[in-house]
């Protein structure tokens, strides 16, 4: 049976992890490779690296990091942040990334999804969507939720699927950072109306939140950062509890 995936997300700046992490067993708290290895060994199903560098050398720094992660890590990983062309994707895949995630560049140029999907295959194209619920309507936002677009979440998600995305990573800006749980109503609607996997993001604070997003939100995977980085939730404990609730997981 296909299992539900648990995905820690690492924010990267200039080749280093950004958000503080609280791992006593880390020799170098800023080294994404070491952190990735620990997550892979502790039961993470996949990893996401989100690059927020804004320097001129960012492309090369990120490609180097991807290479070093690929050398060490025996589970799949996705790389996102600032990807806007076939060349960007080519470099990352050649260095060992399994998937790439695109966000703003897809909104600005939706044809990019078709182009990437045709060239590299739908299986490695994740489209990330950040959305905020305003007066009852879910509106797609850019730049980490700061800039609203005219797009409705569900319309955009359907277009993204039609254009050849392999997966959607949906982050609710209303829930992100709250630790009050995932946006399960919107997730459920996405998962029911679309026929590609949906990754839930934004709001994880407790083990119950993961149970809820898999059952109520019908999510295929759940992504979180701080609850894992600060060891508020151990992945193995999380998976044991999910298994008790009859949610299929890899243990």
């Amino acid at each position: 049976m296909l299992t539900k995936r648990i995905i820690p997300c690492l924010d990267i700046k200039n080749g280093r992890t950004v958000k503080g992490v609280n791992f006593v067993d880390l020799r170098d708290a800023g080294d994404p490779v070491e952190l990735a290895e620990i997550y892979a060994a502790s039961g993470a199903d996949e990893l996401v690296f989100l690059d927020i560098s804004a320097t001129e050398e960012r492309r090369k720094t990120l490609a180097d990091l991807v290479y070093r992660v690929g050398e060490k890590v025996n589970i799949p990983f996705t790389v996102g942040g600032g990807i806007s062309s076939i060349e960007d994707v080519d470099i990352l895949l050649q260095n060992g990334a399994d998937k790439v995630s695109i966000n703003s560049s897809a909104v600005k140029n939706p044809q990019l999804i078709n182009d990437l999907s045709a060239k590299f295959g739908a299986q490695c194209i994740v489209v990330a969507i950040d959305a905020k619920q305003i007066d009852g309507e879910w509106i797609v936002h850019l730049v980490g939720g700061k800039v609203p677009t005219e797009l409705n979440l569900f319309d955009w998600a359907k277009e993204v699927e039609k254009r050849g995305a392999g997966e959607i990573l949906f982050t609710s800006m209303n829930n992100d950072g709250t630790k009050d749980g995932f946006a399960n109503e919107a997730l459920n609607k996405l998962s029911t109306e679309l026929n590609i996997p949906i990754i839930a993001s934004g709001g994880a604070g407790s083990i119950q939140h993961f149970t809820d997003t898999f059952i109520k939100g019908k999510a295929d995977a759940a992504l979180a950062a701080s609850v894992f980085h600060f060891k508020e939730i151990e992945i193995v404990d999380l998976k044991r509890q999910l298994k008790k609730e009859n949610i299929p997981v890899r243990l």
Binding site: R5, K72, Q94, D98, G121, Q123, E167, N195, P197
Partner: protein, 193 residues
């Protein structure tokens, strides 16, 4: 031991190379016929769309070579699918090594299947030291139905072939190079055949 990964421009080859290196071996990427023929183990990778991958294989002239190889050959993901008779994806004729036609998952499941599923009814030394219901990582929209060459079964709305074998040819629908410790064991089993 000489391990080659067939390089025909269709596949995320780097991660296979890394996985082999983690097991203590080195693999060479090549499209050179003599080098492939002389290797002890051959890996035939593939990701992306079937008809364009097959065109690349034909353009490189390797489509006639692969079925004639005598040493252990491992096709991974699309590589395995191209070793079958044909695939529905892009109406593509395959290499005809495995006597089965690859078809698309029905729409009562999400397509592509992405993530960790379980394998069972394991046969052949490829799965030595691997137990039934072990988890492996898959990403695919098309599958090979169960046939006489099936050596591992997975279930995604329907039971299908997670791996195939005929003589010296092996194929896995899953990615051993991305399937954690289980995948490493399977890859090691292949390399040490």
């Amino acid at each position: 031991m000489k391990i080659v990964i067939i390089n025909y421009g269709a596949g995320n080859i780097q991660s296979i190379k890394f996985a082999i290196k983690r097991l203590g071996y080195e693999a060479v990427l090549t499209d050179n016929v003599e080098e492939i023929k002389a290797a002890d183990k051959v890996i035939f990778p593939g990701v992306g769309e079937a008809s364009s991958a097959m065109s690349k294989l034909i353009d490189s002239g390797l489509d006639t070579l692969v079925p004639t190889l005598k040493q252990p050959v491992l096709g991974i993901c699309l590589g395995m699918q191209l070793m079958c008779n044909a695939t529905e994806e892009g109406n593509t004729k395959g290499l005809g090594i495995f006597d089965v036609n690859v078809v698309k998952f029905s729409t009562n499941v999400k397509v592509p299947q992405i993530g960790w599923n379980q394998i069972l009814d394991l046969k052949t030394p490829l799965f030595s030291k691997v137990e039934d219901n072990a988890h492996i990582y898959l990403v695919h929209s098309f599958y090979a139905p169960i046939c006489k060459e099936t050596i591992a079964v997975a279930d995604y709305g329907i039971k299908y072939s997670a791996a195939l074998n005929k003589g010296n040819f092996y194929g896995t629908q899953f990615h051993p190079e991305k399937s954690s410790i289980i995948g490493e064991q399977i890859l090691r089993n292949f390399l040490e055949m």
